[in-house]
Amino acid sequence: MHIERLITMANDIATYFTSEPDHATAVNGVRDHLTRFWDPVMRRQLKTFVTEGGEGLLPLANEAVEGLNVPAVLN
């Protein structure tokens, strides 16, 4: 999928959690949202993008994606 689209969507989610005063809660919030609502293919694509630098992602989104769980095998 277009990575730009995924970046926008991840940033939108992170923006919502920016007002959360507790940083760990905010990071978990973003990560949990991605895990519960995003198809694993999209999660994997975003995670790969972050390992390659993740340019354009908000810091909060970046941090959340780093610890994101992606299933090993997708069929």
């Binding site: 277009h2 969507m9 989610i13 919502y16 949202h33 609502f37 198809d39 694993p40 069929n75």
Partner: protein
């Protein structure tokens, strides 16, 4: 004419804890205090003659036919206006009463045409019935006096001769008015009017439009629409309440005039909006004579709007396709095939796609227009048959933020009340909804409550009708800038917290204390003071403060919201902000309060409940939840995928990058209803097998490879769930035109994919849903038949259903306040796109219009127009009805302008009922952060005067013409009698 099967008790039911015992015609009768003598008698099976009274309306006491004698009282009181009193002794039949009644009838009949045998009301005319009941045998006055019956009367004397056609001196009769046939659905024949004013009162009391009046006095009095206009040109919204109330043939459905009286009646549910009105389909064999709203309908109490009552002609429209068709490419003509061929074709194509591109390369889309049973089967087909979770519903593009926001705060993805709860509401807060147009029957109920004194706050960029309508004026109209809902709600929260208006007792008992503390600090930041936000929201601080105080302290406060809340980049945040306000003020968990999403389509609630979202099984349980998954795996006999699947916009993205190849779409027109049309059609074009199941060759079907003809709501059994969580029955009144009910088609597809499904009846599907879903454990077709309808949760704990939720505790335990930072949308006005476009709908048309465009409803709305404020129009040299181009960063389209003060400067508005309007060519890919619900309500545009259609419209027309000819070629090639076979 009233329903042919209901008993009319004459006056509305009284509600009282006290019982009164009285005697009528020697029978002892006990009824609630406040009941009329007429109703008390009727309940005991004693029918007092009546004409001006009907249960739909408050008693009026004008016809003097219902007189009775009461022991110890002088005179002959009217039984409809006399309330019962303890110990009353009443006689309904005495020689004196008989004489008076005959006298009354004699007068009526002397001014009434005597064409009963050819009259459409014949058999169900109350005037005729009463003439019979009172034993009228002669009309001593003759029929020649002053009258409303004849168009021409003799100039002076010799009237008798005139009637028999023997005199030449005829002059126009000043009392006569000709028939008004302007309304497409009913006629008004004043010559038959008895001036009982039931129609006038129905329009006032039930519908709340005040379109009719009685003009003149005494014998001169007559019914008139608005200022003596034709019905079509008056304020009339064609709800039909007056037609139903009329005791004679004066107001009659045209369909009744054409077809004659029905012989049986079947109770079913409207397939249009989320009010979910219950109807009696009055039938002649398999043909519908007319639809009459069901007096016992729990959502509508005998009322309806123009769509449900009249706009059903689409179901028998010639455009309906009744044979399956396939083609290899969208440039090919359609080939008509047998059902078996169609099923085998889809089965083999989807299997091929999965073998070539992987398990996840196919998916399905369900529709909020389908029944619960159909939706359930489609998601089951995807999860169990396709083996992935790529299923989504069109609720994605309307109310997905409601699901997210209400679940996060209160624990259940549904509205908290029943409609009747509004009877106990003191302050009504309407935000981003237009109930009088989009949810008309509930809109009428709301207007009744407002006329009875409830206060009203409207938060909307447009001056919707509710703001100012007969006998109603909003106390506050916060005319905010589109896209600033969260900002306005945060300022209201600021006022509630800073002015000490929080219901601390409720919050302490019912909500998570840490979350509340965090929220209360959050909304108390200076930046959310109404004064600080004024410039951004465009709403004066004073108005915000007033509205917040009123909602927090005005008694029972209830919030009603619609797509103007959800279809924004911050849709989910707004829903949470609404829930926060309700919790902070203790407006949750009892009658009269609550958070009420007004659902657009008939079964939005149901399609969400039934597991249409890619991450949830039925009953809103996440696919990763092990216990739930095991439950479904056991029931369905296959392993199920434990990760969320693709949402609709994700499917499009995946199609464009080549990983998503096959789509099964049931009853949904994504090519018209989803944003950024050109993106959607590109995605559809990139797929190898698009299967569309629908009544018509809709916009999406023009990009399809397989067309499966579906069935209308009249042709199948099932259930719909309305905005109040109310599950009602849809009943089959005629055989499916294409041979199969939609659930049967899905079942056959599953079999073709090699996954067994063997339901014999829709009720068996509901039984499976009930067995697997805790909130539905008590639901079955039998149980619904018993109760009439039932609001989930319905289970062991709530065997009769649940009108009000979160009573003692929230579904999630403690209510959770959520933070709701205001984030301005990316869609900003600039020099290139200086105006904000927002979208909505109107009363007579429904959604993408596929149904209503194929009815006479187009007489009220035959094109989508761009509403623009006079100031903006003048700046651009635009006059009313000029063609204007509307350009956004996504695309451009052309509509005609409507210059209107309802808009605020800087904001333009349009509806989206006609595909050629291309409203979604302009909308962008911005979406709600949590659910990807598109931001339909805010698009930056420029508007200019133009002289020709946009490039997109030209391409659209060319493509539509080409697709139509491909369809015509196939129809021409096919003998007609293979249609509907199988």
């Amino acid at each position: 004419m009233l329903s042919i099967v209901e008993i009319d008790y004459g006056t509305p039911k009284a509600v009282s804890a006290n019982t009164v015992i009285l005697q009528i015609d020697g029978k002892n009768i006990s009824v609630p205090e406040g009941t009329s003598v007429m109703r008390a008698a009727a309940q005991a099976g004693i029918n007092i003659p009546k004409l001006c009274a009907t249960e739909m309306l408050d008693a009026f006491g004008s016809c003097r036919l219902c007189l009775v004698e009461i022991e110890g009282r002088k005179g002959y009181p009217a039984s409809c206006t006399t309330p019962v009193a303890a110990g009353m002794k009443i006689s309904t039949q005495t020689p004196k009463l008989a004489e008076i009644r005959r006298g009354v009838m004699e007068l009526y009949i002397s001014d009434h045409p005597l064409d009963c045998l050819t009259c459409p009301a014949n058999g169900h005319c109350e005037l005729q019935d009463m003439a019979g009941v009172v034993g009228l045998r002669e009309v001593r006055y003759g029929y020649e006096g002053a009258n409303h019956v004849f168009a021409r009367i003799p100039a002076s004397k010799g009237q008798k001769a005139a009637i028999h056609g023997r005199t030449h001196e005829l002059v126009p009769n000043p009392l006569f008015s000709p028939k008004d046939e302007s309304n497409p659905y009913f006629t008004f024949d004043p010559s038959k009017c008895i001036a009982c004013s039931r129609c006038v009162r129905a329009c006032d009391e039930v519908q709340g439009t005040f379109a009719l009046t009685i003009q003149g006095r005494g014998f001169e009095s007559k019914v008139a629409a608005s200022q003596d206009n034709r019905f079509l040109d008056s304020e009339c919204v064609s709800c039909g309440a007056c037609v139903q109330a009329c005791p004679t043939a004066t107001l009659s459905e045209k369909s009744l005039i054409d077809k004659g009286q029905a012989e049986h009646s079947v109770t079913t549910t409207c397939a249009y909006c989320g009010v979910g009105c219950s109807f009696r389909a009055e039938m002649k064999g398999e043909e519908i004579v007319r639809m009459v709203p069901n007096k016992d309908g729990h959502a509508n109490h005998g009322h309806s709007c123009v769509k449900g009552r009249f706009a059903i002609g689409y179901a028998s429209h010639p455009d309906r396709i009744t044979t399956p068709m396939i083609r290899a490419s969208i440039a090919d003509p359609w080939k008509v095939v047998s059902w078996d061929e169609a099923f085998a074709h889809v089965g083999s194509e989807f299997k091929r796609l999965q073998a070539t591109y992987g398990t996840h390369s196919v998916g399905g889309i369900t529709s909020s227009r389908c029944t619960n049973e159909e939706t359930y089967l489609v998601q089951k087909l995807v999860r169990a048959g396709f083996g992935n979770n790529n299923v989504d519903t069109c609720a994605r593009v309307c109310h997905s933020p409601t699901g997210y926001g209400l679940k996060a705060t209160m624990g259940e993805s549904a509205g908290t009340q029943d409609f009747d709860s509004i009877e106990k509401t003191d302050v009504v807060l309407v935000i981003g909804a237009n109930p009088t147009d989009a949810h008309p029957v509930f809109g009428s109920q709301m207007k009744q409550r407002l006329r009875a004194g409830a206060k009203l706050i409207v938060i909307d960029p447009r001056r919707i009708d509710l703001v100012r309508t007969p006998h109603i004026k909003a106390d506050y109209h916060l005319k905010l800038k589109p896209g600033t809902n969260v900002a306005v709600l945060n300022t209201m929260a600021y006022v509630i917290v800073s002015e000490g208006l929080v219901d601390h007792d409720f919050v302490a008992r019912r909500c998570e204390p840490e979350a509340f503390a965090k929220w209360s600090a959050f909304v108390s930041q200076d930046k959310y003071s109404p004064e600080a936000m004024e410039a951004q929201t465009g709403v004066s601080a004073e108005a915000v403060r007033g509205a917040a105080r009123l909602y927090a302290t005005g008694g029972n406060g209830a919030i009603y919201y619609g797509l103007g809340v959800t279809e924004h980049a911050q849709g989910s945040t707004t829903v949470m902000a609404i829930a926060n306000l309700a919790m902070a003020t203790g407006n949750i968990g009892r009658e009269g309060v609550g958070v009420n999403p007004l659902r657009g389509q008939n079964n939005v609630q149901g399609s969400c409940d039934m597991g249409s979202f890619p991450h949830e099984f039925p009953g809103y349980r996440h696919v990763s939840d092990v216990a739930t998954r095991e439950l479904f795996e056991k029931a369905w006999g296959v392993p199920l995928y434990n990760e969320p699947g693709l949402r609709i916009p994700n499917m499009f993205e995946a199609a464009l990058d080549g990983s998503f190849k096959g789509l099964y779409v049931e009853g949904e027109d994504i090519a018209q209803s989803d944003p950024d049309t050109q993106h959607v059609t590109a995605a559809l074009s990139a797929m190898e097998c698009v299967v569309v199941q629908d009544l018509f060759l809709n916009e999406t079907a023009k990009y399809a490879h397989v067309f499966l003809p579906g069935s209308s709501f009249l042709e199948k059994d099932g259930t719909f769930t309305n905005a109040e969580r109310r599950v009602s029955r849809v009943r089959k009144v005629m055989a499916p035109k294409a041979g199969y009910a939609d659930w049967e088609i899905t079942q056959k597809l599953a079999q073709a994919m090699g996954y067994p499904m063997n339901y014999g009846h829709a009720s068996e599907i509901m039984d499976e849903i009930a067995a697997l879903t805790p909130t539905f454990h008590g639901v079955s077709f039998d149980r619904i038949d018993e109760l009439g309808s039932v609001q989930w949760p319905c289970n062991e704990e709530h065997p009769n259903g649940t009108p009000v939720m979160h009573v003692d505790e929230f579904v999630r335990g403690k209510g959770r306040f959520m933070l709701t930072e205001y984030v301005p949308t990316r869609e900003k006005v600039n020099a290139e796109h200086p105006l904000i476009l927002t979208t909505g709908r109107i009363l007579s048309q429904y959604n993408v219009g596929a149904q209503t465009r194929r009815t006479a409803n187009v007489m009220w709305h035959d094109e989508d127009r761009l509403e623009i404020h006079p100031h903006d129009a003048e700046e651009r040299g635009i006059n009313d009805a000029d063609w204007v181009g509307i350009a956004s960063r996504s695309g451009e389209t052309v509509l005609r302008a409507m210059v209107s003060e309802r808009m605020q400067p800087g904001v333009v508005y349009t509806t989206f009922h006609f595909p050629e309007s291309g409203a979604n060519v302009i909308t962008t890919d911005n979406s709600d952060w949590a659910t990807n619900c598109p931001e339909y309500k805010v698009t930056a545009v420029q508007v200019t005067r133009v002289s020709q259609p946009s490039e997109w419209q030209k391409r659209f027309r060319a493509f539509s013409n080409e697709q139509q000819s491909l369809l015509d070629q196939s129809a021409a090639a096919q003998p007609a009698d293979t249609l509907g076979q199988q």
